[in-house]
Amino acid sequence: MATVATPAAQRHLDRLERIWAEREGLTGWLTTTDHKRIGLLYLFASLAFFAAGGVEALLIRTQLLVPNAGVLSPDAYNEVFTMHGVTMVFLFVIPISIGAFGNYLVPLMIGARDMAFPRMNALSFWLFLGSGLFMYVGLFLGNGPDAGWFDYVPLASKQFTPSSGIDFYALGLIFNGVSTTAASINFIVTIFKLRAPGMSLNRMPLFCYAFLAVSFALVFALPPLTAALSFLELDRRLGFHFYDVASGGDPLLWQHLFWIFGHPEVYIIILPAFGIATSIIPTFVRRKMVAFPLVALAEILVAFIGFGVWAHHMFAVGLATITTIYFAAASLIIVIPSGIQLFAWITTIFTGTPRFKTPLLFILGFIVFFIMGGLTGIMFAAIPFDQQTTDTYFVVAHFHFVIFGAAVFPILGGFYYWFPKVTGRMYHEGVGKLSFWLTFAGTAVTFFPMHIVGLLGMPRRQYTYPPDLGWSFLNFLESIGSYVLGAGLVLIVANLAVSLLRGERVGNDPWGGDTLEWSATSPPPAYNYPVIPRVTSPYAMWDRDDRQADARRLERGELTLERGHETPASTVLDAEWDEILEMPSHSWMPVLLAAALAAVFTMLLLGHWVTAGAFSAVAALVLFGWHMQEPQEA
């Protein structure tokens, strides 16, 4: 958009500003349906959980700093490593990538003014916050879950873990799953229906392809987890026998159901990172992504094949040989779409003209760790190797390279990349680079030696180790690495926090970015775009003529949609303009509904079945109230 608006354009801007004005203060945040504010709520909440999970990680590493340390008791250690895993997977990586990055950026990138279901979007956030607090209340009451993040039965059964920690875990994750399912459905419909006119599917940014793939994966992966957790609660609370061999049940049923969720989950965690990488790379190497259609297909294939590999987590449990061979082969196949993306990123960087700013450095770090974590991943597909290393620190090393090195590094790079868009200010480049090198070195030093202690035989989840096994120096090194890593992360937060107040003010597009969000003002107004953009390629910002045409339309008041909270809807494949949708504005219903559901889950935990039923009735009434306000009448 033009930086100085003509009087004609200004009239339209003023009108849109009035229509889209949000409420002030706390009420504004509680009732907001603006995808950007919800994205920020997700960001701050998931960062708080990240801090909690980080403290847990540092506690684990401090306990393992030296042999026979007494920082944590064995029981406390079990709770801490369980909550570390649960927090990082369910309360940090997924909500920050999908909730924060997805919410803030997907509507901007497709040229929409909001998500398809703005109130459900708010509901997703409040449910997520409720579920996270629910599980942490358990921990602070001394009832944290302590059977590991995959919570195998029979250890997690009533007989062997009578305390209510497992119930907090099971109910909390069902609760969390409702939130994530609602968010995924919202993303799919938003991407299918609200793309700017002209943005046919083949012109959609790769970032959105990644989010589309993740959302579909979540829609199909979460139900098996919900079923597994419901069976577990029925066993524990009502005396059912799903997992009890003596009465005809089977503990392996839990493992199958958990990993039918759990392996797609790995790709769910990493696909948004792929999406961020494909956004950052073209901008900083000044060229379009190599093999755009192949990368888009590979993103979707990864999500799809991810459903067929779950039993490679179970090679050591004694499944039939033919079964394990099938899953080993399927696990090898997934290398192909991953390899396509990897080579596409590397080729794009090599054939471009890279500017090594902080965001690109984080993507390079991501590529390094993804290759290392990916290589050990292929090793696990070899059944005999897997059987030797299962449940050792070799596995811990592998999945931390993948989940921290590969999934979180692009998130950190994304913080720096989109910081100017969200705040209108620039971060400090020198401190940014220093923070990259600290986190990079910290990650390598923390997790690389774990491969070696794993091969030396150190099992995971041990709360301590004796001094004479040759593991002491490597463990010491890992712990030092974790402190360096922690310092790097604190430096990132400090850099962004100080820059928020003192950073240099920059324009809408400091990087020469390729996707539409860079055409909005920084920070974007509540209505995102005063004129609905018309799109003719996946690199909309590099089509200068199109963007100048948008600016001229603003002066003429064309496509400004200023009769209410309006956004265009288009056809699914070709994105031809189909209708103009009136979107809901602020509402109390999402937060009320989330509170009612939180009460339902609390009552289920306490075993007050009738009260839980009563709160379900309240939730149904709130849902009816929700539909009393119809967006087209607002």
């Binding site: 459905i185 229906k193 059912f240 799903f242 209708e579 949708l581 009136e582 539909h627 967006p631 087209q632």
Partner: protein, 206 residues
């Protein structure tokens, strides 16, 4: 944009019907419920798969002391439930053509039939609970969980219809027409799942 309808203007039955005719793609609400149904189908799929997983582990299914289920009544009930898809379908056709009275009547007809179905099913559920318990065997656990899950979906469907009937008293709007279409899709799904559930439930006797 010429020829593009504004949802904010479709607040009467006639205007909503016009918007329905002009719209080329499925509305967001229909997409939303289609995806809800997809995730719910995965949930049913998981529970049905768990049924067969436990069954193929077992030496006898149902275990000794439990009779295989009676076939006739559950099958007849399911047939009746599946037939309620017809008034639900006709109600969507009526709503899309601005005939609010017929839509209301057809939805009420479906609601009454489905409520009758649920009432008989609850009686059967209680009778079964008197004969064998979910707390004794894995067979009982999965049997009652599968049926309970299905009945819960029927309850939710009834509540959705009830809410819709109340809303339709105030006439049709674009929002409510999409609501009728969405609830209809939910019911087609419940009815389809009812067939899979009853065939699984009765599989030891078939």
């Amino acid at each position: 944009m010429n020829g593009v309808t504004r949802s904010s203007e479709a607040t009467s039955a006639i205007a909503a019907a016009y918007a329905e005719r002009r719209r080329r793609a499925m509305p967001s609400g229909v997409w939303g419920v289609a995806l809800l149904v997809a995730t719910e189908a995965a949930l049913f799929g998981t529970v049905l798969a768990s049924y067969y997983y436990l069954r193929f582990d077992a030496a006898r299914w149902p275990p000794a002391g439990i009779e295989p289920p009676d076939v006739a009544l559950p099958l007849a009930l399911t047939g009746a439930l599946v037939l309620t898809s017809v008034p639900v379908l006709l109600a969507t056709v009526a709503a899309r053509r601005a005939r609010v009275g017929s839509a209301w009547g057809l939805l009420l007809l479906a609601l009454l039939a489905q409520a009758g179905y649920l009432a008989v099913q609850i009686l059967l559920f209680k009778r079964d609970l008197g004969v064998f318990s979910p707390r004794d065997t894995a067979y009982g656990s999965i049997y009652f969980t599968l049926l309970g899950l299905h009945h819960l979906h029927v309850v939710v469907g009834l509540l959705l219809e009830l809410g819709l009937l109340v809303k339709l008293l105030g006439g049709l709007t674009n929002y409510r027409v999409i609501g009728v279409r969405a609830v209809a899709i939910y019911w087609y799904f419940v009815n389809f799942m009812a067939v899979l559930v009853v065939l699984t439930q009765l599989s030891p006797s078939l």
